[in-house]
């Protein structure tokens, strides 16, 4: 419970820090700008593909995390492990 409260506090702090940055960045990148692919998100998509969106295995719980929260990927493991056991 203590860890959970600490995490909530940390999340709120990060959100508070991020909010002004969102508000200030007003110069939008157009769907077709100086770069032909600007606005399509192609450069961002590699960030996604390298990380957990395109590569969820990097989010699997570590050995030290057995029995802890685990996040959505741990949920998948739990859900489909139950299905396998039936």
């Amino acid at each position: 419970m203590r860890n959970f409260m600490i995490k909530i506090a940390a999340a709120a702090l990060v959100a508070a820090v991020a909010a002004p940055a969102m508000a200030q960045s007003g110069s939008g990148s157009g769907a077709s700008g100086a770069s032909g692919s600007a606005g399509l998100g192609i450069d961002y998509a590699a960030l996604v593909a390298a990380g957990a969106s395109g590569n969820p295995g990097v989010a699997t719980p570590g050995q030290s995390a057995t029995g802890t929260l685990g996040g959505p990927i741990a949920g998948l493991i739990n859900q489909f492990s139950k299905k396998d056991q039936k």
Partner: protein, 257 residues
């Protein structure tokens, strides 16, 4: 590439990618949960709220057709690693991407000459859910045109796994600015994705990035090997005068702990 050729290409690729996963799912019971390493993706372009932790490294590539250069295609590659433990407190996913993979046109940068960094601070919360804040496209390098045309985007996002009978879904909702918002519009836009998992290895997903509506199928061909292939179509609404385009990504993760 005309529409018919695109459809044939997509269909063929999906059949090839999904066959091993369907075959392997029949032998699923013989694999322990701790050996599960192959997972289908929950999104194609939208950020999710979970990510790499300490001891994990991911590499990935993305490509799509587009009316953006003479080759009518563009791509990017990236590498990501994690610091910290999102189950205890939080973890920071650090990703570096090189853009213009096919690029002697478009941004004007060739391979490796332009790119950016993504940072995501994420934590897991009870109920198989996660929360994250991050920035994509920061610390960019490359030509002036590339840097001027692409601005960093800040986002906050929440993700949750939801059981759906014997199946599962991962739902994802976030807000972000710049690329996650309408072009030339201040403030933040909403993005989100929904992925339905037939097994851990096969997902069907739809997403809205704040600009584009995309749909894709994702397959992890091997249950115990962390390889993920996602193929789909972007800009289904044909917004901003663009066409529906074919897109694909491939990612592989390594766990060292």
């Amino acid at each position: 590439m005309n529409g018919h050729k695109k459809a044939v290409l997509i269909t063929g690729a999906l059949m090839l990618a999904s066959a091993p996963a369907w075959a392997q799912s029949n032998t699923a019971a013989s694999v322990a949960a701790s050996d599960m390493r192959g997972f289908a993706a929950p999104a194609l372009q939208a950020p999710v709220a979970f990510g790499a932790r300490w001891g994990t490294v991911g590499i990935g590539g993305y490509g799509q057709t587009c009316d953006c250069n003479k080759q009518d295609e563009d791509g990017s590659i990236g590498v990501a690693f994690g610091l910290g433990d999102p189950d205890k407190y939080a973890a920071l996913e650090v990703a570096v991407a090189s853009s213009s993979l096919f690029g002697d046109t478009g941004s004007g940068d060739s391979f490796g000459e332009s790119g950016s960094v993504g940072l995501k601070l994420h934590t897991n919360v009870p109920g198989y859910a996660s929360f994250a804040v991050g920035v994509n496209g920061t610390g960019r390098w490359g030509s002036k045109a590339f840097k001027n045309a692409n601005h960093s985007s800040v986002y906050a996002v929440a993700s949750k796994m939801v059981p759906v009978g014997p199946f599962a879904a991962i739902l994802n909702l976030g807000i972000g600015d710049e690329l996650y918002n309408e072009p030339n519009k201040d403030g933040a836009g909403v993005f989100g994705s929904a992925a339905f998992y037939f097994t851990q290895q096969i997902s069907l997903l739809a997403e809205y990035t704040g600009r584009f509506t995309n749909a894709a199928v994702s397959v992890a061909p091997f249950r115990t090997f962390p390889l993920t292939v996602t193929l789909g179509a972007t800009n289904l609404g044909e917004r901003y005068g663009g066409d529906v385009e074919f897109a694909g990504s491939i990612g592989m993760g390594f766990v060292f702990n």
